[in-house]
């Protein structure tokens, strides 16, 4: 497969995985938690590296998932003992992220694990970072990681669809009928952590937030069904990856930056032009009500 095809494929897979997972964050009004997790997984990656002394993707996934979940647990603990939720998120994630940064500068200074890379990512190098496992041909690591995580995400959503739905819509009712609300919450946050770390290499910690939130936010404005929202969100994620790649080629700029920017542009388009919930439609409908009633 060509270099170009790999980049587009990997970008698209990150787009789908992030897009689908991010929908649930939006529906639960937890978008800021994506920001938090995307930063704290850095600590997970560093710890995984320090403990295993290798850059093996599996260890990093485990480390990131553990620290991602810890982030959520800490936020939950602080919040339930009286600290405001946004303040809890702000304190927990900056603290864990800071420990990650300190550990990198202390112990991991001479390996390829620098803060810039973790924050910004660089999808341009991803196709060359390959590995050969079992009977498979030599494949990019990022592709393998994203395939595994995408599969996990899809299986979880398939198995727990109704639980994810009811705990997002009405957690009190869900608890009252015996659905383990907290378990589902942590399951989802585990998904977010895995998704984040798998997309990390390609887009980095900051841009992964764009991929998690923007496609879902766009999809939310276009549909009244959760299932459709999930699918549309995936489509937006892929579209942003493809358009973003060619835009980057055209203007000779960072590919991951371009992909994230296209996510923002797509959202802006939907925000203004959505046929039902768009800004212009609402303005227009308001005018109709205002002047229509006088006739």
């Amino acid at each position: 497969m060509s270099y170009e095809a790999w980049i587009i494929l990997i970008g698209s897979m990150a787009g789908i995985t992030c897009g689908i997972t991010g929908c649930f964050l939006i529906l639960r009004k937890l978008s800021m938690l994506a920001d938090a997790i995307s930063h704290t997984v850095l600590l997970g990656i560093v710890l995984a590296f320090l403990i295993s002394q290798s850059m093996n993707g599996i260890y990093m996934l485990i480390g990131a998932a553990v620290v991602g979940l810890l982030t959520v647990v800490f936020v939950q603990l602080l919040h339930s003992s009286g600290v405001q939720e946004d303040a809890s998120i702000g304190v927990v994630f900056t603290f864990l992220f800071a420990i990650g940064v300190i550990l990198i500068t202390l112990y991991a200074g001479d390996v390829h694990l620098d803060v810039d890379h973790a924050l910004m990512g660089e999808i341009a190098f991803v196709p060359w970072d390959t590995v050969q496992i079992g009977f498979l041909p030599e494949l990019p690591k990022a592709f393998l990681m994203l395939s595994a995580v995408l599969l996990i995400v899809l299986v979880i959503i398939f198995l727990f669809y109704k639980e994810l739905k009811i705990t997002s819509f009405d957690p009190a009712m869900a608890a009252a009928i015996g659905i383990p609300v907290l378990f589902i919450h942590y399951l989802l946050m585990g998904m977010v952590s895995l998704t984040t770390v798998a997309s990390f290499d390609s887009v980095g910690a900051i841009l992964v937030v764009a991929m998690l939130i923007a496609p879902g936010a766009s999809a939310y404005l276009l549909t009244d069904k959760m299932s459709v929202m999930l699918i549309l969100s995936g489509v937006f994620g892929v579209a942003a990856a493809i358009i973003g790649y060619y835009a980057a080629m055209l203007f000779n700029v960072s590919i991951s930056g371009s992909m994230a920017a296209v996510n923002g542009i797509l959202f802006a388009l939907v925000f203004f032009f959505s046929p039902t919930k768009g800004y212009l439609f609402k303005k227009f409908a308001l005018k109709k009500v205002k002047y229509g009633s006088e006739q």
């Binding site: 109704k162 009190a172 009712m173 009252a176 959760m226 929202m229």
Partner: protein, 250 residues
């Protein structure tokens, strides 16, 4: 006869301040019970504590002689309408179907039968024509009816409803009352957190007067008295005068 709900010595506290203090009451089967008290009396808290949604500091709760377990599916719950996001991308039928989730079990989806049943529940509250309607496009009263339909779909024996009459139109209030009476005729027990003192005598067979402590509970006729109201609402004069008016009228 076995009382469906028995609460013994229930205490709930946030930090050190008790929100509910040593609550004891029982409700008889097949009755409509109003939970009455001023703002901050702990009415919603009582329901949530009974359902195990918030931790209790002390006390015992028995539903049909057993500690409450969600998986027994004997209890239906109607939260306050304002407690959920009505912009959620889903339609009325889907929300009612959520009432079936407890019956469906892990890893399964509600099937055709559940869907037909959910539609039947919507019909009972006069909302069958709105099954496909996005929930944000329903009026407050219609949203409340969807919540009631969802509770019906749970097929419970005891229902807890948190302020179902708040912010609904007269037609919906009538529809809800008809529905409550229908449930009663089927032998179900319904506990309703209620605000409007004027309708208490008309709507409920039993009342629980609550203000952090359980002031009184029993048949409306003998319990919803001026003296008990005075104790429940304390110094809140505006309420008291209103209560006096009502007590004299009836």
């Amino acid at each position: 006869m076995m009382n469906p709900v028995v609460v013994k010595g229930l205490t709930v506290a946030y930090q050190e301040k008790p929100v509910l203090k040593d609550i004891n009451f029982e409700v008889p089967e097949g009755k409509l019970i109003g939970i009455i008290g001023p703002n901050g009396a702990g009415k919603s808290t009582l329901i949530k504590a009974i359902l195990g949604l918030i931790p209790k500091a002390a006390g015992q709760i028995q539903i049909y002689n057993k500690p409450y377990r969600a998986k027994d599916r004997v209890v239906g719950y109607v939260p306050q309408r304002g407690s959920v996001d009505w912009d959620f991308p889903t339609n009325a039928l889907d929300v009612v179907l959520m009432g079936r989730y407890g019956h469906v079990g892990w890893f399964k989806r509600p099937g055709k039968k559940d869907e037909a049943f959910a539609l039947e529940c919507l019909r009972k509250v006069g909302m069958a024509d709105f099954a496909d309607r996005q929930i944000s496009q329903l009026s407050g009263g219609q949203q409340q009816r969807v919540f009631l339909a969802r509770a019906l779909a749970q097929e419970a024996k005891v229902y807890f409803m948190d302020e179902p009459f708040v912010g609904v139109d007269a037609a919906t209030e009538r529809a809800i009352i008809d529905l409550l009476n229908e449930l009663k005729e089927q032998g179900k027990t319904v506990l309703v957190v209620h605000h409007d003192l004027q309708t208490v005598k008309e709507y409920f067979d039993h009342v629980l007067l609550l203000n952090v402590e359980a002031i009184a509970s029993g048949p409306t006729e003998s319990t919803f008295t001026m003296e008990n109201l005075h104790q429940t609402y304390g110094g809140k004069l505006a309420f008291l005068e209103k209560g006096q008016m009502i007590a004299e009228q009836k």
